[in-house]
């Protein structure tokens, strides 16, 4: 999955810190200093209380599969040769959800609520946060 033709994130003022963190193998998410809620995806105002007092914190990288699908047809031509692969919504222990892929597991083993942990995968210029079943060796 290091294909240079894959769509890679185009960072912006909200996301530069997040993608830089991934490159350093840190899963950085935001936390509101006023209402204490965690925030993902990153943004300039807290979507809960509209506060501007937002800080970056490092996630434990642990969470559960909230839901998932196994792509039998690729999400566009760039993913055609990767099928079948698992795309999941990860619910981090901090309470926020993010898209990722489940790797280092047979796609048929992926289940809702299974415990997963982050693993960083370099893909050209970018490093993407992916997830694997918790507790397995890398």
């Amino acid at each position: 999955m290091t294909d240079q033709n894959k769509p890679m994130p185009i960072p912006d003022g909200d996301s530069n810190v997040f993608w830089q963190g991934c490159k350093e193998n840190k899963l950085l998410i935001q936390k509101c200093s006023d209402c204490s809620k965690h925030i993902f995806y990153p943004r300039i105002l807290c979507p809960n209380c509209f506060s501007e007092k937002i800080e970056w914190v490092e996630s434990t990288g642990k969470g559960k599969v909230y839901s998932y699908t196994i792509a039998r047809r690729g999400g566009g031509p760039a993913f055609k040769d990767d099928v079948p692969y698992a795309v999941a919504l990860i619910q981090l222990d901090e309470g926020v959800r993010m898209f990722s892929n489940i790797i280092n597991a047979d796609v048929e083993e992926v289940k809702c609520d299974m415990a997963v942990e982050v693993v960083f995968v370099d893909s050209g210029e970018f490093t993407l946060p992916k997830f694997q079943p918790a507790g397995i060796l890398k």
Binding site: D12, G75, F99
Partner: protein
Amino acid sequence: MSIKNAAAIVGVGDVELEKGKVKDGQSVLQIQAIAAKRALEDAGLSKDDVDGIFVAGLWGLPGVGSFPSVILSEYLGIQPKYTDSTQIGGSAFEAHVGHAAAAIKSGLCEVALVLYGSTQRSEKSRTLAGRPPVLTAQYETPFGLPSPAGSYAMAAARHMHQYGTKPEHLAEIAVATRKWAQLNPYATMRDPLSIDDVLNSPMISDPLHLLDCCLVTDGAGALVIVSPERARDCRKKPVWILGQGESHSHWSIQAMPDLTVTSAAQSGKTAFEMAGVTHDEIDVVQIYDSFTITVLLTLESLGFCKPGEGGDFISNQRTAPGGDFPMNTNGGGLSYAHPGMYGIFLLIEAVRQLRGECGERQVKDAKLSLVNGTGGTLSSTSVVILGRD
């Protein structure tokens, strides 16, 4: 403030498809013009009567921004007093009905034209690719989620996990909908279909099979909505707008608060309260069926059954012809047509049912119909309740 009985649908129009395509390579502007002319003829009105225009989108015009109501008005030769390009996906048309009724009630226009068309099938313009990885899509597209099927698949997987819903339940919806399509000479897919056929069709994005997914077709449709005063002079009996609600809960499925509940819980409540009717009084329902799971979640969210009970609710072909819950009577997005955004066709079918124009598929004595649109990735919903005198 309510728009109950503030306006009526008095004209509907659409175009014929052959194997899901418009005839003779017609353009997206041509087919909308034909649908508009047919809807106005149906109403007994002329183009010059139109003073409000509602257009959600225009396929096929590249370039910055989108001016659908402006472009289409120019093509048709209409200079409106009221213009609305609200684009919230497949539910936009149900929203337009509410917006048109509100504008008419306020005296801002008298004769509203709602229009839609797409030639996506002829143009072969659909793929499963996600949006370009900019802004909020940068957190989604790099992971290769098939779009939009993968998002709906995730909702189905979560519903199955929480409630034990089975692929067989979803297949019931596809099969019942096909039976309606077999009664509609204009439906794209009319071959017999069994639950096994659905379960044995290729898996697209687990747990959704090919036959859990809507068609990719062309299509065009139009509605004419007028004030009660204008309705008196129209060719056919009015279909009254009794209630309408709209909402959206997220854009990306990543931000959907609960993957088993759509914002129809809110838009449906608004529409029911405005109309002052109960679920039991509805004679025929038209529920957006982009995917089979869309229908199941929507029936629960609208309160036709309790959360988690959607599978049992639709079992035993209850929504098929002859069942006690007639639903998607034209054959739906699953078997009739689905030109990118489908919501206007739900409204057209509801009007035809309430007028008694549906021939073999007519639901006897239909007086009240509920129409639900869903857009994006379960993102937006709008609900309209229609009734005849």
